[in-house]
């Protein structure tokens, strides 16, 4: 087992997917933590269904997840609530996630600072198919604040929102993304899941100065970081979770992550369809690098910005 499993250091882990049990067989000692997408463990048959008829749990997959989670920290990483959308909170879905959180013992729970659901859709669950950026203004802030309070009551654990990949910046914003995150942290106690690869994608599209972004973000607000790699699609670099973390992202991680004194986890994301390309040895190597990064962090850092 890796040495840095002390409470003083963030844990290292993977976003759970169907290939993760195989990784755990081969390199389980390197994985202290699993981030779990609740929506992957059930079918949502119909948002208009009668009570008790809407969701179908995938019991075999849940049993396997529970076996994988033994001795590890587990947290939720939801994709379905689309909190920034100007649509009412899906209370039935939230209740499902809260029940799953209690069953699995989620230590914290994150969603995305991106819009997946669209208002005025012809059906209640109309989806944008990709995560679209959010307008950072007072109206969006109040919308999120109110929904996050409901989530907090339902889940009873630390909440976070993740920065998305932005391909088209929204002009004339009232706040920058770090300013928006900082306010959510100060006023709603909502932490930041800082996806450094999403930041890399956004910067590749010319929509952010990443170093300035990382300097402007309140370091105390960052509770988890995501690492990943991507590919080009039709000439555009995307967050496809298809490769190991790029060197530039590692460079940012080593410069800034030691300042995140409340950091609890460092997570690598890959899509199961790319397991063969990445290889178990490739993923194990990434996990070892993440442990070395974790060793540079402690909850009471004495380092300061250069």
């Amino acid at each position: 087992m890796i040495e840095n499993s002390s409470d003083n250091y963030p844990v290292v882990g993977l976003l759970y997917n169907p290939s993760v049990p195989y990784i755990l067989c081969e390199a389980g000692d390197l994985v202290q933590y699993l981030a779990v997408i609740p929506e992957r463990f059930r079918f949502d048959l119909d948002v208009n269904a009668a009570p008790g008829k809407r969701f179908r749990r995938l019991e075999e997959e849940i049993d396997l997840l529970k076996r994988c989670a033994e001795g590890r920290i587990v947290a939720g990483h939801g994709i379905g609530l689309s909190l920034p959308s100007a649509v009412p909170l899906d209370r039935d879905l939230l209740d499902q996630n809260a029940s799953f959180a209690a069953e699995l013992g989620f230590s914290w729970y994150s969603e995305h600072l991106s819009m997946f659901l669209m208002p005025h859709g012809k059906v209640p669950n109309e989806q944008a198919a990709i995560g679209l950026p959010v307008v950072y203004d007072e109206e969006s802030f109040e919308l999120l604040r109110d929904k996050l309070r409901v989530l907090k009551d339902a889940l009873g654990c630390q909440l976070m929102l993740e920065n998305g990949s932005i391909y088209t910046a929204i002009p004339e914003m009232e706040m920058t993304e770090p300013e928006f995150f900082n306010r959510l942290y100060r006023e709603v106690d909502c932490g930041v899941l800082l996806d450094l690869h999403n930041l890399y994608v956004t910067s590749r599209h010319g929509n952010v100065d990443p170093e300035r972004y990382l300097r402007d973000l309140d370091p105390d607000a960052v509770i988890e970081i995501h690492l990943a790699g991507g590919d080009k699609l039709s000439g555009y670099y995307t967050d496809s979770h298809s490769r190991l973390t790029p060197a530039e992202v590692w460079s940012w991680a080593h410069e800034f992550v030691p300042h995140f004194k409340n950091l609890r986890a460092i997570t690598f994301e890959f899509h199961e369809s790319f397991l063969e390309r990445l290889g178990v040895s490739g993923i194990a190597g990434e996990l070892e690098r993440m442990h070395k990064l974790a060793e540079c962090c402690s909850k009471t850092p004495e380092v300061s910005y250069a």
Partner: protein, 165 residues
Amino acid sequence: MLDHFQKAFADLTASPGLVMQVRENPDLLRDRYELSEREVRRLAAMVNDPGMECNCVLYRASRITPIAVHLPRLTKVLAKDLGPLLSEYWTRYTHTNINFLFDSYRFCEFVKEKIDGGFIFSDAVLPIVEFEMAELFEQLEVIDPDNYMRGPDGRHKICTAPEQG
């Protein structure tokens, strides 16, 4: 209004044609949505941003991937007909479903409707769509053992329910 802005943004992402129209005529935004002047300026700038094309590409990639995964033979045999068919399918069914089996099954129904309506495909398309549809049906039976999602005619509701206004 934030809700109209979000709806307009999502509509543009799903429709490269609408992006082109708004580039030519930004006033179209005022005709279709209730937007503040700042929201109109935002969207008018965004449709001219190269990243908007990337949003459109990702939208199509996100919708084609589950269909390609669940219907490997059908997507192959449709060949050059696949692109236009998907565009028509996505225009008709703008809403997606995170449970990809449903969307894939619905696409099969759509292809069968085209065949019944006289659209000429390769002779191989009908047996393949029926074969892969039967495979999907078996999987749907497993996740929906009470047949909650099946209407009186036995068809899945996602394929038969009219889009709600």
